[in-house]
Structures are given as structure tokens and as C-alpha cells.
Symmetry: C2
């Protein structure tokens, strides 16, 4: 049996001006992971105030994941990896708290404990296969930080059409300095990389994937450059088991995800949802926005495996229409 | 769409000697709701230490609910109504904490807040139908307390073959005295009844059912005398909408549940899982143990509606066999 696991959390790094497009404005960004969890669980908002959209109106990729779930019918689990706003989705706890800005000295003190608790959870889940997604605004910046700390060469994509690379680099450089680390200092110590340069979501994804693989469960990391960072964490934890990274064609077009996956000894698949032929809000994806998130690449891969990829665009539009009508009333 | 909601919590009332059979001994009783949630979600234990069994070896009714879920395939939601031990099941929070002994002055101070949060959740859930189950050792005693406080005439069943009625009556009498209430003093004030004589699970079930009914969602209370108490709470909250109580043939044989449901203007259905023809641990049910719990009556009703009632006994034995093998390894 396949279970889709959404690892949902926050980092104050997202509040840095220009870092994230995962919300219409700074206030709504904090609600995005909580809303994404509700959309995937219920196909509706329950406690979250608004459907997450980018400043230019690109709807959250959680609507795509939900659409696939309604067709393919997989089980789900939401892990609270430091949510910063109420959610009506049921969540499992691993001791994670919202991450602070990576430019602080010890931004994610809960990371090592959350890694261990998530690893135990990954070992204990009875499923044959986990497809893991993430939702954390600002997450590509902390992914860059983690890779620098590990000394892993992973490219960094963005939810914005123009990737603010130099801003991310300067944030990570400040973070390394604040934590008194040089690039590569956290090699083979993944818990330290996520604690000092990362975020609680990467800690949980890394721990969960590690534990699941150790217990013989197949793991698909459904996401873009954040999941490549998670794959690097798994490898730096000493786990050599087969691992797949499944992302979207949008990430694949943006950065060399395939080559990076290969260097990390991961299978790689990029799926195109075919939104280029759509009218309306999904054209924002074809224009290079959002690209990934909330397990979209993993969900598209599940849809493709089930022979249902062609239904995803219409299904997503249906989810969108329904979920902008709050509480289904 | 139908969703099965498990409302899971604890009350220190269960620690009174002779009150509950929901665990092999006093220590394991605290883990029963957490284990029940895992069994229904995963069909396996994840964080809970042991499969809940009565002192004589009757397995938890959660195994029956899980077996039905594997056949019928309904969605689930676990609400944390004051869990007292870790669970690997994802839960939604409504601000409930474990209940204290009803013989104390203010045993469930979180009850009014949890009622309101659960009511909002019930209003917001997008499902067409909720089937609500409960798991709380000691819950029949607090159900008696709530009914006394409301002045509602509801009989009280037991998970033990010999119902310790006089013990329950004396506990409730002490509880009324400690809270300075006479029978009926909390009539039409359900939040007070659950706060002073009840438990956090009844608060959440009452609030959730009230909110769901108010928003036009069908509600089936899947359980025995605790769910009759919950139905009384809903009626005392001023909600006159159609409401169904679905229980097991074991409860129906023990007390006049049908007549009570009729007085509360509820539809009533009692379903027999046919365990009388089984060998092994399920014979404990036919001997009058457990009787209900973890939504068993509601699940059996769903199985019957789907034409799958005949598969429940074998399915339950399969779940039992699998889940005594911890973590599926």
C-alpha cells in the first residue's frame, strides 16, 4: 500500500523580503502549510483563512496533489514539522517547532529530536511505499543552507519566476557565519545541518525517509530542490538504499535536477501535468511560477503510474473552484 | 462522502478500581485510546506498546472498526479529546486535556472550550455524513454522570460482563456533591454537564455532532450508552435535527438502548457482527465483554449498509493476527 506523507512546517526565513512566493503577502505565508494540509486531507479549507496563492495569483500546488488523490485514492498522513498557524487537518507530532531565521545562531533547536522521532515513525509505519511531500515557505533557501553545511552540490530552484539566487546565497552565508560553520562542516552529520542551516521540515523528511528505508519501505521524495537536499541528508545519514526523487517538469526545466539526483544515487522522474493547454490560473505554472510544493511531483508520478495523468488539469480546476468556496457552503 | 471520526481521550475516573475493562491492567488503560487510533488509521500499532485487551483477553473493538474500514474504505479523522499517551495516529486538536476524576470539583475545565472548537470543526468539515466513535476507558461512568447532571434518563452499559452499577452510582453521587450540583442542574447547559460530571470525549462528541448537524451534515453516533449520553447532550444543546445512534447487538441485549434513543428522538440501529459462531478471542464478545467502543456499532452499520457484514468476523481476526505482530515486522 502507498501512503502520501505531507511534512508541513514553517521557518521565519520566509519572512525575509523577496525569498518566497508561497502566499499572497507576508501574513498569509504563515498559513500556507496549514491550508495545504487541509486541502490535501479534505479538498476544502477548514480552519485556514484563504486558499494559498502567489502574489500574481498562482494557486498552491496542494490543489494538484488533492486532485490526484481524488482520482488515485491514496492514504495520507500529515506530519507537523513546525506549523505556525492552526490547521483542521489531523497531524502527527514529532516534537518540531517553527524554525527561526537561518541567520540566527541556533535556528532549529528541535531538529535533532524531530529527526529521531520522525525516523522512528518512518520505521514503524506499516506501508509498502511512502511518497513524501513538503510544504514550507522559504524552504528552497534553507535547502541551500543545508546543502552548504553538508558540502553537497545541489542546485536551488524557486517558487518565483526569477529566482533570487544572490539573496539566498547571502542569507546562507550569514547563516553559516552565525553558526560558526564553514561549508562542509556538517558532512555526515545531517541532524546538525538541519539544526544550524535548515528548517524543521527538512529535519522531518530526512529522518522519516531514513527510518522508512532502514525498515525496507520504498520511499519517493516528491518535490524539487528541497527534496534533493533531503536526499543528500539521507545519504549523509549513511543510508544507501534505493531512493527516488519525483518532481515536476517545471523544476526539471529550471535546474539540473536529474544530474543532481544521479550524483546522489537516486532514481529521478519529472512529470509534466500538461497545464500548458489550460486557461485560467494554471497558466501561471506554465509561466514558471510555484513549480513544485506539497508533493506535487510525487502526486503527478502517482497519477502517471495509475494512467490518470490526463485527468489532473481538470481535476485541479475542480478542486480550485470548490475550495475557493470556503467550507463547501 | 462518509467520514468516520474517532474521538479519543482519557479520564482519571478510569483509574477507580473496578470501573473499566478497557485494558489488561491500570497502566495499559492509559494507552488504549492511543492504540485504538493507530489500529483504525494503520491497522497496526505504531507508537502504542500493546494491543488493548481486557483482563480476560477480549481484544479492543477498534480491531472490528479497522476490519470494516479495510472492506468498506471510509475516510477517517481522529480528534484528540485528551489523550494521555503518545499516538502515531494523526490527530486534530480542539484544546482538550485529559479529564480528571469526576469526584473532583472541576474535573474537565477544558470541556467548554473543546465543545466550541469541536462544534466549529463539525460545521467546517465538508463531508455529507459523519459516523462518530469514541474511545475512553471509564467512559460509561462519566456518561452516567453527564446524564444525571442533565437530568436525562439514560441506562448505562459496561465493558465488563458484570456491570458495576452501584460503584458507578456512588462515583457519580460523589461527583455531583463535589461540584455542588443536584441531578438536572445542568439541563440545557451541556457544556457544564461535561465539565463537572463528564469527560473530554463527551464534550468533543457533543460539540462536533452539534456543529455538524447545524451545518446540514448527517450524523451517526456509533456507540452504546456513551453515545446515548452524547445524543442527550445534542438535544440539550437545542439541536432537534435527525440523529442516529448505531450500536452493537451486545449493548442492545444489555440495556434498553432502543427505548432511550426513541425518547431522545433518535433513529436507532443495533447490528450483530455474528461473532457467536467464531472460535478464539472474539467469543469474549458473545460472552458479554467489551460490547462496544471505538465506533464498533457505527462501523458494523456501515458494513451492513455496504452488504459486507458477513466479512467482518474474518476481517477482524486478520487485523488481530497482524496487529499483535508489532509494527508489521
Amino acid at each position: 500500500m502507498t501512503r502520501f506523507v505531507l511534512v508541513a512546517g514553517t521557518t521565519a526565513t520566509a519572512r525575509i523580503e523577496g525569498i518566497s512566493a508561497a502566499g499572497a503577502d507576508a501574513d498569509s505565508v504563515a498559513h500556507t502549510p496549514s491550508a495545504d494540509a487541509e486541502l490535501i486531507e479534505y479538498g476544502h479549507l477548514v480552519r485556514a483563512p484563504d486558499l494559498p496563492v502567489s502574489p500574481t495569483g498562482c494557486p498552491t500546488p496542494a490543489t494538484v496533489t488533492r486532485a490526484v488523490r481524488e482520482t488515485v485514492g491514496f492514504e495520507t498522513l500529515v506530519v507537523d514539522a513546525g506549523l505556525g498557524a492552526p490547521t483542521g487537518a489531523a497531524t502527527v507530532e514529532v516534537g518540531a517547532k517553527p524554525g527561526r531565521d537561518v541567520r540566527e545562531t541556533d535556528p532549529v533547536p528541535t531538529a535533532p529530536g524531530a529527526w529521531v522521532a520522525a525516523r522512528e515513525l518512518g520505521r514503524a509505519l506499516p506501508d509498502d511505499e511512502l511518497v513524501v511531500g513538503e510544504t514550507i515557505p522559504g524552504g528552497t533557501t534553507t535547502a541551500l543552507g543545508v546543502c552548504r553545511a553538508l558540502g553537497a552540490d545541489v542546485p536551488v530552484s524557486s517558487s518565483l519566476p526569477e529566482n533570487p539566487r544572490s539573496l539566498k546565497e547571502s542569507v546562507v552565508a550569514e547563516g553559516l557565519e552565525a553558526s560558526d560553520l564553514s561549508p562542509g562542516d556538517a558532512a555526515y552529520r545531517p541532524e546538525l545541518a538541519v539544526r544550524f542551516l535548515g528548517d524543521p521540515v527538512l529535519a522531518v523528511v530526512g529522518g522519516l525517509a531514513t527510518g522508512a528505508l532502514q525498515s525496507g519501505t520504498d520511499v519517493v521524495l516528491g518535490g524539487g530542490t528541497q527534496m534533493l537536499a533531503a536526499a543528500a541528508l539521507v545519504r549523509h545519514a549513511g543510508v544507501a538504499a534505493p531512493l527516488t526523487v519525483a518532481t515536476t517538469a517545471y523544476v526539471d526545466r529550471d535546474v539540473d535536477a536529474a544530474g543532481t539526483a544521479e550524483r546522489l544515487d537516486c532514481e529521478f522522474v519529472a512529470t509534466d501535468p500538461g497545464f500548458g493547454d489550460c486557461d485560467g490560473p494554471l497558466t501561471r505554472y506554465a509561466a514558471g511560477e510555484a513549480k513544485e510544493g506539497a508533493g506535487m511531483g510525487g502526486a503527478l508520478w502517482l497519477a502517471d503510474r495509475a494512467g490518470q495523468l490526463a485527468t489532473v488539469a481538470d481535476g485541479t480546476l475542480e478542486v480550485l473552484e470548490r475550495s475557493t468556496d470556503k467550507h463547501g457552503t
